[in-house]
Amino acid sequence: MNELNPSGWRPAMGGTSPADAIQTFTGNRALQLEEALLFELGSPDRSGVDFDDVGDIDLTALGPLARSHRADLPGLSEPETVRHYTRLSRQNYAIDLGLFPLGSCTMKHNPRLDEKVARMPGFADVHPLQPVHTVQGALGAINELAHWLIRLTGMHGVAMTPKAGAHGELCGLLCIRAALEAKGDPREVILVPESAHGTNPATAAFAGYRVENIPATPEGRVDLAALTARLGPDVAGVMITNPNTCGLFERDLKTIADAVHAAGGYVYCDGANFNAIVGRVRPGDLGVDAMHINLHKTFSTPHGGGGPGSGPVVLSEALSPFGPLPFTARQPDGSIRLIEEEQANEEHPQAFGRMCAFHGQMGMFTRALAYILSHGADGLRQVSSDAVLNANYVLRRLDDVLDAPFGGAGPCMHEALFSDDGFAEGFSTIDLAKGLIDEGYHPMTVYFPLVVHGAMLVEPTETESKAGLDQFIGAMRSLAERARAGDQLLKSAPHLAPRRRLDETLAARKPKLVYKPA
């Protein structure tokens, strides 16, 4: 034996660890890494991009407003940049990590093929104002998606340009307004049921309408009698969410639509919950005149931490002539034309105008089209089947420990609604929701819809496995029991996330929206 372990290393296992008591020098906790602000890390001299050096060039063509100082924007080298954003990303929950039971948001798996397709150069590297004959493939993709949306909804036309769901609502209402004005009968009221999305009344107000609320029945549906009683020559239309925000199908929609049409109005349907019925029910068969489709919900374009969305609006034959510019039209020879301001007077004289610059959310169109082609007509029908099956499974596995206000009314659609009725004194929905964070889930939609006190709206979507649902159900049962028993630890949850509850009051009283050096 000449060498007796010169480095001194030997295998050793640690003892027990009081993790909470450990204070690290960096503030990091192993893989949970803290990250400073860009403005504390970077400087305007640092850069992660190289440009050819052009030296001092003649800047006289800029005129008198040339800058005297470069902008005060901190830069980082590429490795620092990659690390900064990678560390930040790890403080986020995401679908790629687990279930996102957000009612009304349809947070389902985002196929990576769709990302690949959107980056194909013929979609990603073309300019919106190129000559039309140089972008036939891009226009073809838009046209193909439009065709699918029209067929899936049983409607007549589609406005592709709205940038998000609420923008689509606005587009639909502007079509209704334009149609009524064309008849010389402008009208001023839009009826909105209590069970509608909060954006609906806001949108109607922006379109210049007065909003009147229609109550819900105890079963959580639109009060048909109240609605039909209110119809009259001043009512431009109704905005109905179907399936509604209680997760229930509005059985009377066709009856409502017939009554609204008989009174000279139009029916707007909020299509946020289309995922529940895609491939099984066509809104066009129910008398709907306009409906926006959230491509970032039903057709799974990624939410991206809050946009971009995309909200094409399908239109009935009565409303199609009023749809906004621009739009595509397939010619007999198979080529695609773009109808914009130049052609509108001749070919689409009643268009109400433009929703935005250019042609809408192309990057979302290609993703949605790839998603739709992947599923096909049969797969999309399976999507709504499984989405509804998953939601009913959650509802029935939880309705013995959580109050389900409409659970007795039969099956739900794609989302299950619970309330905090039965929790211990002082405990409410927020506590259970924050407890879910510690269990490794994103909370469900809370305190919405307003028709239920302390609402919890759970939408599992079709991309969750049964095993995954069983684990979620187990977590929910455990939390429901803790909330009923009044477990104080739940009141201060979450305990294990990158941050504990944040002081939203302070943020709103003393708004700090930009970084200012101390």
Partner: protein, 123 residues
């Protein structure tokens, strides 16, 4: 000075033809932390039951209705910096605006303190 109350949880303290308006302790407790108060402009006319001010909490914005008609003489500028006064002292330092009354008979439809307490107990 006489204090009256509305079913929308506003109070109004009247002295002659002058009055001070605010929201009740019950209202602030229901709203939670007040983060911002939008007060009416001095000299603006307010009609009974019309929205004259908005009180924001973190998750809600609530209209405050004028209990009676009249003209705003002064708004509580302290609330700009300290909206929390509406939480800590809703019926004192947390007042919203002062006004002159155009029709004092409108006060007859309002509740007195005992009536309001009974009304709240029913909620």
């Amino acid at each position: 000075m006489t204090r009256y109350f509305t079913k929308d949880h506003e109070w109004i303290a009247v002295e002659g033809s002058e009055a001070t308006v605010g929201i009740t302790d019950y209202a602030q407790s229901q709203l939670g932390d007040i983060t911002f108060v939008e007060v009416p402009a001095t000299g603006s006319a307010v009609g009974k039951g019309e929205s004259a001010s908005v009180v924001d909490s973190v998750k809600a914005a609530s209209d405050v209705y004028a209990p009676v008609s009249g003209t705003v003489t002064v708004a509580n500028s302290a609330l700009e910096e300290q909206p929390e006064l509406v939480n800590t002292d809703p019926e004192g330092e947390g007042w919203l605006w002062k006004m002159t009354l155009s029709d004092p008979s409108e006060l007859d439809a309002l509740m007195d303190e005992a009536g309001y307490q009974a009304f709240v107990a029913e909620l």
